[in-house]
Symmetry: C2
Subunit: 148 residues, 2 copies
DNA sequence: CTCACTGCAAACCTTTTGCAAACCA
DNA sequence: TGGTTTGCAAAAGGTTTGCAGTGAG
């Protein structure tokens, strides 16, 4: 897997050690389409490393976060992580409430927004939540199965 | 104070009891310009009610939240509360990172946003963060005082 | 007088920290 | 080997819950 290898090499260059566990962690994010909670990460990882402790998960999430490999988002139901977007230019996200997959939105509303002259903008957040095509189809299929 | 009385009456109509503490809590929000953390609420309230316990603060915040008197927002550094906006029509917010005061943004970016046909939008979030005129002035004044 | 509210204590969940053992380079 | 990483245990927030006593209507 390309990305995983790249990341591991970057970690190595940063003076970090490559452990089996970290490799698995990066692969997990590399394969995940949406966001993962620390708990979900712990559960996935624990299947492979039964003796795994929660604090190690947190520590390694922080390592990946500090390296910019993953990004952290605070949802209403808690903190979640996902692989950082490869897309370099500024963009926003559409997030599926079911699978938490993200789609890029290229449009940035800041250019259209009237800001009072005395307000100094530092950052902004624009996020659209809903259901992606696949999840809608799945839900529709499930519903029709129920009716039958 | 108009708003506080209105809210207390609404609570009474909902079968809730009017206690001194709740009146003080509502007044606190009524007088606050920005967001308050549960901890800040506790600290303010404790000056008036030394025997106050934290769980009562949480319980009453939830009561106000359920009634729609206050709204809860999850910031990166934790949960905060503020009086619900009186402004009825859909709008967004500019939030001062210093004093956490909010200014309304009437423009809604959703009309300008290209959404794939198969994505069903449920909700969206558009927030602008920065420094308001007053806080910028205060900071500038403080800086020039330091230089002297 | 009754039911809602409060304080206390304890539980719970998430996240962080100190330390000694295990491990990578 | 030397410094990093890990597991364990414990602590540190933040939030919720059960219970008995207090207080509003």
């Amino acid at each position: 897997m390309r990305t995983t290898e790249d990341i591991m090499q970057r970690m190595s260059r940063n003076g970090l050690r490559i452990t089996e566990q970290r490799k698995t962690l990066v692969k997990l994010f590399d394969g995940a389409s949406g966001y993962l909670t620390p708990k979900e990460v712990y559960e996935h990882m624990q299947r492979v490393y039964p003796g795994l402790s929660f604090d190690t998960v947190y520590r390694n999430l922080r390592v990946l976060l500090d390296m910019g490999v993953v990004e952290q988002i605070v949802f209403e139901d808690g903190v979640k992580f996902k692989l950082s977007c490869e897309e370099q230019h500024h963009h926003h996200h559409m997030i599926c409430l079911q699978c938490e997959k993200t789609l890029p939105i290229r449009f940035c509303p800041m250019s259209e927004t009237d800001v009072p002259g005395d307000f100094e903008v530092v950052k902004h957040k624009f996020e659209v939540f809903g259901y992606c095509g696949e999840c809608k189809e799945a839900a529709a299929a499930a519903a029709s199965r129920e009716v039958q």
